[in-house]
């Protein structure tokens, strides 16, 4: 059996080719379509389409049937990234300058809008089963709704220096902002396209738990030297993101230190110095916040594995199901 990374790469080849077809040609090239091609050509891991295709195969659907939906999801993800980079003032994406750094904010926002619209185009493909397009479109719309609601929560918390947050608040945020379109939608769409139906409640829980474990490990990678390839290090700390480590730190730190943290978070991003960022990271390490996040990811990952067995327990054993399990394990354990 191939490793998860080999599997992802093989699926990513197919998705990249389909995305290139969707954004090929078009005018104005230098102000729009070349920008779109720049971002869609950048090689990400292809986790979302990979998960969708692997789950579709495990459910008995063919790649040919599922590829348009996987492509739609990846195009949607790319449009989110463009806007997300503007909102977070990010400078690097997949090892290259972000689109707004290269072309300015107005053209980047417009490119994101165009890509969100183009995302539905693959669903018009003749390979895609017409009787499923309504359901898949509804799934994409739900993914957009949940993601934008989650993003609104996060941006609002940062804008109003909201600090009195619990693990439940954090997991809800992650559930909406990350899990829905990263893990839940791929699994739900795959189930729609397949011949065999996994247990739907367990499938949603699997998507949620695996997505939460994935996001917490992503938060941890941000503070790990060399952890996030192609992104600026410590960007979450610089942006004042409400990571689970920050929420933990705020809940355990003495009042004077808490006051300092609240002051730091209340500043505009460009006012936060490197020294302050290092100080905040040191406080997280000393308070055991990183170790706590590791434990949290571990517990959620184990729960996700139990949900996997529950969701897919009635499906026939197959190499495709084994591949899907390997991919879910990879998502949960990312390092």
């Amino acid at each position: 059996m191939r490793t998860a990374t080999e599997l992802l790469e093989s699926y990513a080849c197919l998705t990249r080719a389909a995305m290139a077809e969707t954004v090929a040609g078009g005018a104005p090239g230098s102000y729009l379509y070349e920008l779109l091609r720049d971002y869609t050509d950048r090689q990400g891991k292809g986790l979302r389409p990979g998960l969708l295709l692997a789950a579709a195969e495990a459910c008995g659907a063919s790649i040919r049937t599922a590829l348009p939906a996987a492509t739609a999801l990846e195009l949607l993800h790319t449009s989110f990234l463009i806007h997300d980079d503007v909102e977070d003032h990010s400078r690097l994406r997949r090892g290259k300058p972000t689109l707004h750094e290269l072309h300015g904010v107005p053209l980047a926002i417009n490119a994101g809008d165009a890509l969100a619209n183009l995302a539905t185009q693959p669903l018009m493909s003749s390979a895609f089963p017409r009787y499923r397009s309504r359901e898949v479109l509804a799934e994409l719309r739900m993914a957009i709704r949940q993601t934008t609601e989650g993003q609104a929560l996060e941006l609002g918390w940062r804008r109003h220096t909201v600090v009195d947050l619990t693990e439940v608040d954090y997991l809800e945020l992650v559930g909406r902002k990350t899990c829905w379109y990263t893990t839940m939608a791929p699994l739900r769409i795959a189930a729609l396209l397949g011949r065999w139906q996994p247990a739907s409640a367990a499938l949603d829980r699997l998507g949620f738990l695996a997505g939460c474990a994935f996001q917490i490990r992503d938060d941890l990678l941000d503070v790990t030297p060399g952890g996030q390839e192609g992104k600026e290090p410590h960007s979450d700390i610089a942006e004042g993101k409400r990571t689970v480590m920050l929420i933990h730190l705020l809940s355990v730190t003495p009042p004077d230190q808490r006051q300092w943290i609240v002051g730091y978070l209340g500043k505009a991003e460009h006012e936060r110095t490197q020294l302050e960022q290092s100080q905040l990271l040191r406080m997280m390490v000393e308070a055991g916040s990183l170790a706590y996040a590791e434990q949290l990811a571990e517990v959620l990952g184990q729960a996700a594995r139990r949900s996997f067995d529950e969701a897919f327990g009635d499906l026939p054993a197959s190499a495709e199901l084994d591949s899907l399990r390997a991919l879910v394990d990879y998502l949960i354990d990312r390092s």
Partner: protein
């Protein structure tokens, strides 16, 4: 109780932590799923009669399209994608066109000759080599299905999917698809990389 009201500095056991995390996850999951209908594409509840009839008409049309689409796909063999098909009864090699950095696909068939005992056939791909020594490792291939139970009463097919590395040089790569099991078979394969 909020985190800030709890004594977080007190050590807690692993099982207590696990219970607390799972409880928090359940609560958050319930918040996320609140208001999400089980079926997203059901008829909206507030339609007037005319729109409800239109909606139902559309849905019936889609389902009828699906009913005709599925057998048609099966009939034409489109429900399983394949880059090439190979009857190869005469020892002809499977020929596959491929591009570096993409996934090449081909359907490979094994035809039973004589009686077969019960068991299973496992498919494997040898390393593929060019005359000048270029290699694509066989481990980059996958088969769907990976094995077939025997005896088979007709030609048994499997879909070969080969990930061609981005740096692979153009050329003709030769190798074999092996079917191991109650019979042994080696089907020659030529992957032309352009």
């Amino acid at each position: 109780m909020k985190e800030s009201e709890r004594d977080q500095t007190a050590p807690i056991s692993e099982s207590v932590l696990e219970d607390r995390v799972l409880q928090a996850a359940e609560e958050a999951f319930a918040r996320v799923m609140a208001g999400v209908p089980e079926q997203l594409a059901t008829m909206p509840p507030d339609l007037d009669l005319a729109d409800a009839i239109r909606w139902a008409g559309d849905r019936v049309t889609e389902l009828l399209a699906g009913l005709s689409e599925l057998p048609l796909e099966s009939l034409l063999g489109l429900d399983h994608e394949s880059g090439a098909t190979t009857p190869m009864p005469n020892g002809e090699p499977v020929r596959v066109q491929a591009t570096a950095g993409t996934v090449a696909e081909a359907r490979v068939w094994v035809h039973p000759v004589g009686d077969l005992a019960s068991g299973a056939l496992h498919f494997l791909l040898s390393d593929l080599v060019t005359a000048s020594g270029g290699t694509i490792p066989g481990s980059l291939a996958g088969f769907t299905p990976e094995q077939i139970a025997t005896p088979v009463t007709a030609g048994a097919g499997t879909l070969l999917r080969l990930w061609v590395p981005a740096g692979a040089a153009a050329g003709c790569y030769h190798g074999h698809v092996f079917a191991h099991g109650v019979i042994g078979a080696a089907v020659p394969i030529v992957v032309t990389l352009t």
